[in-house]
């Protein structure tokens, strides 16, 4: 038997899991044999990704989103309804093995929460009644695909026609037509000149990244699209994949042409499996039109093709080096930062990794010209930015804004009322008070990666912090101490405060512990996980003060009643 290339391990595991509903011991052994690796190695991979299961998950596998927006919009009711209708308690299956019910981190449907995936088809704006209808439908033999909701993208705002970059009318092939006017070096220069920076939220200058990769030694180079949009609250890449898959493809062709790469890979998060048919159709369409494949129309001998790699559930894989590891069929553990992917990336070859929106913007720069893009925005942040706005506002959805918009203006646009907190760029971003309306969304001030979550005055800050901290604790890859062991301690501290059991001095402790996790963690996950807690303490100190007990001689967290409960039950009535 020919040993398979490890890069296809995730694909193969998906095949095996889809056939059986879970990965049995035999599947693990089979994959190990096919790939010529240890079964323990395979298990190490399956255990890393939360959508791979070693136990049966039912004929219908339900994943209910547990992000903060889902919590605030009825998670508990919907969870209870699912448990009642399916007979499966969360985390397992019903006795007949028909339904499996699990909670999962944000699935990119924040503008229509609570939302769930059933066999990876989207179900949105769930209510107990709707859950009942869905489960009855499944019991009646309808398929999840038939019952699923169509995710129609709501473009709530874009600037006037000539200032809109991404969400303007799209004519397939236009960027590629333009591309032939420029040499690869010119393309790199154009992207540099336009001032485009990474739209995933790190804002690394895209032109510089492409230049590194272009200059890197080697004939085999890769273009990788990071479509692993996992930051809770964000769905702008989903919208682009849903509305403009062609624009993304063209952006990747532009990058490939500029860098000298012949292969592109889209790393699509498993939560967006429902977008896969659309994406594949678009790729097929481009191949048929001669824009992808052995030669690209108008670009002479240049060849380039794109494949899609499905993830398997791990927020950390949105970190570019973890994504590379995952592409290589391994556990998604971030690499060390001493080597750039543009030198040694996928399989050790020079690799450009950009976010969906970055590629789309690059295609538009080629299509519309550098001046157009550069003329928009602020000095440090040129062009426009897609924001996904959700939470307590009248008009959740997709917003294309020109960089430089004031926060207050944005809140008015989306119909935010009674606002108290705004979480920009997701849990790893910045917690902002409504008092900060004058602040500006731009690289000079609020660097927003795309997620905007709005919370009104009724929302409890501690619940928000608890949700975020749980998320990071669950999604930490476990490789470095501060993130793996520190996040659970921060979560514990937040919950101690919520219960009103925190001692004087605990707020200072929380700040100190936050700094420790932040400064000592290996990658961005741990380095940003304590952000919201830190900012909450700085911006709303009075809320924290209220949670502290006055006298700390006795630890309030310890309850004698609770500690003796188990013994009392064991010896009940016999004492």
């Amino acid at each position: 038997m020919k040993i398979k290339e490890r890069t296809y391990l995730l694909d193969r595991l998906w095949e095996l899991q889809n056939a059986r509903g879970y990965l049995g011991d035999a599947d693990i052994l089979q994959a190990a044999a096919e790939f010529g690796i240890s079964p323990v190695d395979v298990e190490g991979v399956t255990g890393f990704y939360h959508f791979f299961h070693r136990q049966p998950t039912g004929k219908y596998t339900i994943y209910l989103n547990n992000s903060i927006l889902s919590w605030f919009h009825g998670f508990d009711r919907v969870k209870a309804a699912f448990e009642k209708e399916t007979g499966a308690a969360i985390g397992g299956t019903d006795p007949t093995g028909t339904f499996g019910f699990f909670e999962t981190s944000c699935i990119g449907l924040s503008d229509r929460e609570p939302a769930a995936l059933i066999n990876f088809h989207p179900f949105t704006k769930l209510t107990p009644q709707k859950v009942k209808r869905i489960i009855n439908g499944l019991k009646d033999g309808k398929s999840p695909a038939e019952l699923a909701d169509t995710v129609e993208e709501k473009v709530q705002y874009k600037p006037e026609e000539d200032k809109t970059i991404l969400l303007r009318d799209f004519e397939p092939g236009k960027a590629i037509e333009k591309l032939k006017e420029y040499s690869p070096d010119q393309v790199v220069d154009m992207i540099k000149e336009a001032g485009l920076s990474g739209r995933g939220g790190a804002f690394f200058p895209t032109g510089m990244k492409w230049e590194f990769a272009r200059k890197a030694k080697g004939t085999v180079k890769y273009i990788v699209c990071n479509a692993d949009e996992g930051e809770p609250g964000t769905f702008k890449d989903r919208a682009l994949l849903n509305l403009l898959p062609g624009l993304l493809i063209e952006g990747m062709i532009v990058a490939g042409y500029a860098v000298g790469a012949t292969e592109g890979i889209i790393y699509l998060r498993a939560e967006y499996t429902w977008l896969l048919p659309k994406l594949n159709a678009a790729l097929q369409d481009y191949r048929q039109k001669g824009y992808l494949g052995q030669s690209i129309k108008g670009l002479g001998k240049y060849k380039f093709d794109i494949r899609v790699q499905l993830g398997a559930g791990a927020y950390i894989c949105g970190e570019e080096t973890a994504l590379l590891e995952s592409l290589e069929g391994k556990r998604g553990e971030p690499r060390l930062k001493n080597v750039f992917p543009t030198d040694k990336g996928f399989l050790g070859k020079p690799t450009v990794i950009n976010n969906v929106e970055t590629f789309c913007a690059a295609a538009r720069i080629i299509e519309l010209g550098v001046e157009k893009f550069k003329g928009l925005g602020t000095e440090k942040s040129t062009g426009t930015k897609l924001l996904s706005i959700a939470g307590d506002c009248k008009r959740p959805g997709l917003y294309e804004i020109e960089w430089g918009i004031r926060l207050g203006e944005l809140l008015d646009l989306c119909g935010a009322e009674d606002t108290k907190y705004i979480q920009m760029s997701g849990p790893s971003g910045e917690l902002i008070s409504v008092e900060e309306r004058e602040r500006v969304i731009s690289l000079e001030d609020i660097r927003c990666g795309g997620s905007v979550m709005i919370f009104n005055k009724q929302r409890d800050l501690f619940t928000i912090l608890q949700n975020f901290s749980r998320f990071f604790t669950y999604e930490s890859c476990g490789l470095c101490t501060p993130c793996r062991a520190g996040n659970p301690q921060l979560l514990h501290m937040i919950e101690r405060m919520m219960q009103g059991k925190a001692a004087p001095g605990d707020v200072e402790k929380a700040l100190q512990w936050s700094a420790i996790v932040k400064h000592n963690s290996r990658c961005g996950l741990g380095q940003t996980a304590p952000n919201s807690l830190e900012q909450a303490i700085q911006k709303f100190p009075h809320l924290f003060k209220k949670k502290l007990v006055r006298d700390d001689n006795f630890n309030r967290e310890f309850s004698l009643e609770k500690a003796t409960e188990a013994y009392n039950i064991l010896t009940h009535g016999k004492g």
Partner: protein, 427 residues
């Protein structure tokens, strides 16, 4: 790797140091007698693993793992600032609370790098609460036992143990705080005795233990006398003031043994002649020494041995908190539960069933003891500071009599003291 490279000058905490370009900062520091601690670093694994994060330093104001820094001309590194020292200590403390590290019963005690770092950094008790995770010990491999309670996920074994055929033996499993190291039994069986022994040696803690010989040199304890930094803390010959009984008002001390073995009390008696000095200036109130069962007056200091395993322990401890100005946790049991806490990662029911209902020696009338006069067993053994506020901690199992004497003297009379390295132990 650094050989033949040109010489460069770097600045460590303001001090100029010459070294080879590209040389790893940890090695440069070591060569210059600056100790940057690390748990995952090996000089032959390149690039370094960078997992433990104990070696964090600051370069140009930015935090980074020291093992990730290579020397280049003009590099300026902050290493020993109070902030960085505290962060390193915090990371070590996280590791102590994340797993189940019960030094007195660990085969590696005295040779464990984590423990040695605890000593080096003067960790009396971690600032974080203990988590007592339930982990599984793997006895199945041919040569080794995986004592996962102690694993710190440094990844050394995963990255550096191979069979003769070059196959790995250890693999990370799961994610986040559930991460653990699993063994490929088939490959592990192919390891030679020497290779398996090396696996045990490179494990910085007591996770990988060799079945064939666990303690190769009984009594050999690498870090007992000499710290891991090889720098003995300077013993300042601060003269201990003589306390003349006439000058001071007698202070009142109380002591108690909760879920402990009275070993710490025995250790207090080990003060020998010091005890005679002590009773000149202190009187004992509630204490097994006096057999006084209830407080008859307010006390200056309460010394607590043992953690809390029953409701009675909790009541007594709370009474001590109310009745004493200063409370000191004396010994490992009071600090982290220690041996009695071995049941902490199992449900109480399992422990009691095993002890009273399912052992081979019970008869048909077996039951879990319960009576209104009997204390109620808690769901787990609690370190004292998780029940009441504890002001000071004296680690050790037991701490030496001298150590206790010095701390008590200092607390009561403000006398200067220094605990020598070899007296500060967790076992």
């Amino acid at each position: 790797m650094a050989k033949g490279k040109k010489e460069v000058t770097i600045i460590l905490d303001g001090k100029s140091i010459k070294c080879r370009e590209g040389e790893n900062l940890l090695k440069v520091a070591q060569a210059n007698e600056v100790f940057i601690p690390a748990l995952c670093y090996f000089d032959h694994v390149d690039p370094p693993l960078g997992t433990c994060r104990v070696c964090t330093v600051k370069v140009k104001g930015k935090y980074t793992a020291g093992c990730q820094v290579n020397a280049k001309e003009g590099l300026e590194v902050e290493v020993m600032t109070p902030e960085l020292l505290d962060h390193r200590k915090a990371v070590v403390e996280m590791l102590f609370t994340e797993g189940n590290h019960i030094c007195p019963l660990c085969e590696k005690s005295g040779k464990c790098v984590l423990q040695a770092l605890g000593y080096e950094m003067g960790m009396e008790t971690p600032r974080f609460p203990y988590t007592f995770p339930n982990r599984v010990i793997d006895y199945k491999p041919k040569h080794i036992i995986m004592e996962n309670h102690r694993c710190i996920q440094c990844k050394r074994c995963v990255e550096d143990v191979f069979t003769d055929e070059g196959k790995p033996v250890f693999y990370f499993q799961q994610r986040g705080k559930e991460t653990f190291v699993a063994v490929d039994y088939e490959q592990e069986a192919k390891l030679s005795y020497e290779q398996a022994h090396r696996a045990m040696e490179i494990c910085p803690v007591g996770t990988i233990l060799l079945k064939e010989d666990t303690v190769e040199t009984p009594g050999f304890r690498k870090y007992d006398k000499v710290p891991i930094s090889e720098k003995l803390p300077e013993k300042e010959a601060k003269h201990q003031q003589e306390i003349s009984p006439a000058e001071v008002k007698k202070k009142v001390v109380a002591t108690v043994s909760l879920a402990g073995c009275f070993g710490c009390h025995m250790s207090m008696l080990d003060m020998d002649l010091n005890l005679l000095d002590l009773i000149e200036v202190v009187s004992f109130n509630r204490s097994p020494f006096t057999d006084i069962k209830e407080f008859t007056q307010r006390c200056d200091v309460g010394l607590i041995e043992g953690g809390c395993c029953s409701d009675e322990n909790v009541e007594v401890l709370r009474k001590f908190r109310e009745s004493c100005d200063i409370l000191v946790s004396v010994g490992a049991c009071a600090i982290n539960g220690n041996l009695p806490a071995l049941r902490n990662w199992m449900p109480l029911e399992q422990t009691l069933r095993e002890a009273y209902l399912e052992t081979p020696t019970i008869d048909t009338t077996a039951l879990i003891p319960h009576h209104e006069d009997l204390p109620k067993i808690l769901d787990k053994v609690y370190p004292c500071h998780e029940v009441v506020k504890i002001d000071y901690f004296i680690p050790g199992c037991p701490p030496g009599g001298d150590h206790i004497y010095k701390v008590v003297q200092n607390l009561l009379f403000g006398t200067d003291f220094k605990v020598p390295y070899e007296e500060f132990k967790y076992d």
